[in-house]
């Protein structure tokens, strides 16, 4: 079973993401800021990270930089999930090593689509009319 680390300062968002991802068979670990997320990663690197940008203590962008510098930190698939929906933010995130990017608001279809893009879900799921 794959693990997804959900990093967001909103407990509501973490709860919604948890529901969506558990239905997709992920084990969930939560962190409310980038620093706590790094602690979790030091204990064990997840396969997937759903990452908010704007958080207190350490934001998502800073976390991503730290993560990719960790031993093995290149392996988790990092999908930003943020209200920052401008092209400049997206480009910065990709340049810093993000694998995909979700602009809030999101739903289960968008999460599934992005997770398929990065290989966290099989791409053979059919979309029937």
């Amino acid at each position: 079973m794959k693990t997804c680390l959900v990093v967001d300062d909103s407990s509501v968002v973490r709860k919604v993401a948890r529901r969506i991802l558990e239905a997709m068979d992920f084990r969930i670990v939560e962190a409310e800021d980038g620093a706590k997320a790094l602690d979790e990663c030091r204990q064990g690197l997840p396969e997937a990270i759903l990452l908010d940008w704007n958080m207190p203590v350490m934001d998502g962008y800073e976390f991503l930089g730290e993560l990719r510098r960790m031993p093995g930190g290149g392996t988790p698939k990092v999908v930003f999930c943020t209200t920052e929906n401008g092209v400049e933010h997206i480009s910065r995130a990709l340049a810093a090593g993000a694998d995909e990017y979700i602009m809030k608001p999101f739903d289960k279809h968008i999460v599934a689509s992005k997770f398929r893009e990065v290989g966290l879900l099989p791409s053979t799921t059919l979309t029937l009319a």
């Binding site: 997206i90 995909e100 279809h109 968008i110 009319a129």
Partner: protein, 293 residues
């Protein structure tokens, strides 16, 4: 909705658009027409049917449009586009090396995600296509979806399904919460209104036809007729791409399935039995004129 209302809708949709609503598709009518009824100030499907019967051609057209519009996404089902990039275009590059021209038809182009996905694939391969004339024709029954497709403008939700983020950044321009396909990609797609039930032989011959998730709504005879006419609209070494849950097998000999490539069909070289030129009934021309279709 009374049984007679349902029967009225079923027959009208069948005559005007070929849409085949068997008994278990009642939920489709409810989900598509309740919003239209509300929008038009009507309380229920019964009142909606009454308004249609009162002879409002424009309203009938709205109902047909609501019933026949299908949701679509960029790179829907992914696999057909992998085939397109990985084998269809490479084979065509060889087969048409002298002609240097590719004609592609999206026969249910809908709101444009499919033709623009193909256009983006081709743009990614533009080095191999220098000097080639590539034509993508997108047709649909609905004027509304054609308008949206022409505009190439999509919501934040729509551009996040099926589209890798790198492609969004590369091929779209953002204005507020909307994203528009870049002009050079839009320029690769021509749009035209077309009812698949009607003769489309004037469109000429295509190398690739995408006809995905539209034939599922038609009955067997209609499907067979359309397959026959699609085969005649295709080069002998062309490609037909159907939706994930669709098949030609068992319905028509005019195409054969491509063994390793799911969803891909090639002309078999067998000619279809002489087809009727139209599957529409005797009363249809008047009804269509009334509905403005």
């Amino acid at each position: 909705m009374t049984p007679s209302d349902y029967e009225y809708l079923r027959k009208l949709l069948k005559d005007l658009s070929g849409l085949d609503l068997s008994a278990d598709k009642q939920y489709l009518i409810d989900s598509r027409l309740q919003p239209l009824a509300r929008k038009s100030g009507l309380s229920n499907i019964g009142e909606l049917v009454a308004k249609m019967k009162s002879g409002s051609g424009a309203f009938i057209a709205e109902v047909v449009e609501a019933m026949t519009t299908n949701e679509t996404f960029f790179f829907r089902d992914k696999v057909p586009f992998d085939h397109f990039r990985g084998s269809i275009i490479p084979e065509i590059l060889q087969a048409r090396a002298a002609r240097k021209s590719i004609r592609i038809w999206c026969a249910a182009g809908s709101t444009g995600q499919e033709p623009y996905s193909l256009a983006m694939c081709l743009k990614e391969m533009s080095a191999a296509l220098v000097g080639w004339r590539v034509e993508i024709l997108a047709t649909d029954l609905s004027q509304d979806v054609l308008e949206k497709s022409r505009s190439g403008i999509y919501s934040q939700f729509e551009v996040q399904r099926g589209l890798p983020i790198q492609m969004l950044v590369k091929y779209f321009k953002q204005t507020g919460e909307l994203w528009q396909v870049n002009g050079d990609i839009r320029a690769m797609v021509q749009h035209r209104q077309l009812n698949l039930l009607h003769d489309f032989s004037q469109l000429g011959s295509f190398d690739v036809i995408f006809c995905r998730n539209v034939l599922i709504y038609f009955d067997q005879d209609t499907k067979i007729d359309i397959f026959g006419r699609l085969a005649r609209a295709m080069e002998p070494d062309g490609f037909l791409v159907l939706g994930a849950a669709e098949t030609v097998v068992g319905l028509s000999d005019v195409f054969k399935a491509s063994p390793e490539r799911r969803g891909l069909y090639r002309p078999s070289g067998v000619h279809a039995a002489p087809a009727r030129t139209s599957v529409l009934g005797a009363n249809a021309p008047k009804a269509i004129a009334m509905a403005g279709l």
